[in-house]
Homo-oligomer: 193 residues x 2
């Protein structure tokens, strides 16, 4: 699979830009409270601070009608029995959707709305997944290689990371007996009580 | 390159749908006034009516904040020395953008706004091209295989095909001495006088 060439989109947008768009990197230390197994997390961090994922995107103006697009690369790995995942977010402009196209690797897209409706959608190479308006979304790498995703969303949608950072999702994607298992998130229950 | 699996996006949107989304097909007879070489076009149509392109997309509700996405497959071929192309369109909600990701094949994306600013961007496998708000866009297959594109746009953007059908784009993409050449469109000049 060839690399996505950012230059084309970037050049057009900027008129003449030919620089690559820098990656934003998320290391485990910046997500340490998001994994269920705190002991496993601390144990990893005592030795190293692994890169969990990185993303970059076209810097489109945050205007109605304008779209932003980018790439996320989510590494393979686990914290305890929980697969590496992105932070996940709602949109600030809640009722806006997002499109994911899996470019390589395999995983899951976790969806959940404010009312608790949720769904886990498998992501496989060249499959597109639709995030309906109102749903928080998180990518989870259940495979052994990098999960690469192309995403598109309205440039004025905005990101609300805080709701998920505070309460988490209602469900976790874990490995149990070498199989992928979706389980209830005990921490979410606690935060809601 | 595996086929894009529509079912995932469709199933999520519709809750349970598992049917494939039907293609909309554009045959040469439906575009016969859009190619510069009318004689060459008539000559082809006396023998056959070739499929020029087809597309299908997720039937998202035409609401602010909602995205629609789909696939276009543009066949290889020429009418005279002009490469097979899509009709091209403005958005009815003019100041809205669109994202193209070339999945396979090669070609060009022709962009032109109402004021006459224009640009031709090469499309190659796994390259994304950004259509800025306000620009009409047409895909052109300059290669020997099917040009497959993944596209995303705001579901409420709407399509204005009529402006291009009436006047055309200001430039054509043609083959001259076995090379791709972008030339001025004489028919556009005539329609504008």
């Amino acid at each position: 699979m060839p690399e996505l060439d950012w230059i084309k989109g970037f050049a057009l947008k900027m008129g003449e830009g030919t620089e690559e768009i820098p990656w934003t990197e998320r290391y485990l230390s910046r997500m340490k409270n998001m994994y269920a197994d705190g002991d496993a997390c601390r144990e990893i961090l005592e030795k190293q601070d692994p890169l969990i994922y990185r993303f970059h995107e076209l810097g489109a103006p945050e205007e109605d009608g304008v779209l932003s697009f980018g790439i996320t690369e989510l590494m393979p790995g686990k914290v305890g029995n929980e697969y590496y995942m992105t932070k996940g977010h709602f949109h600030k402009k809640l009722m806006t959707s997002e499109i994911y196209l899996c470019l390589s690797g395999s995983g899951m897209l976790m969806l959940e709305n404010m009312e608790g409706d949720w769904k886990v959608i498998p992501m496989k190479e060249m499959e597109a997944v639709y995030v309906p308006a109102g749903y928080a979304h998180r990518s989870i790498n259940t495979g052994n290689e990098v999960l690469r995703m192309f995403f598109v969303y309205g440039a004025d949608a905005g990101h609300d990371y805080n709701t998920i950072e505070t309460k988490g999702f209602r469900h976790l994607v874990t490995e149990q007996d070498k199989e992928t298992a979706v389980i209830e998130n005990p921490a979410w229950q606690a935060a809601s009580e």
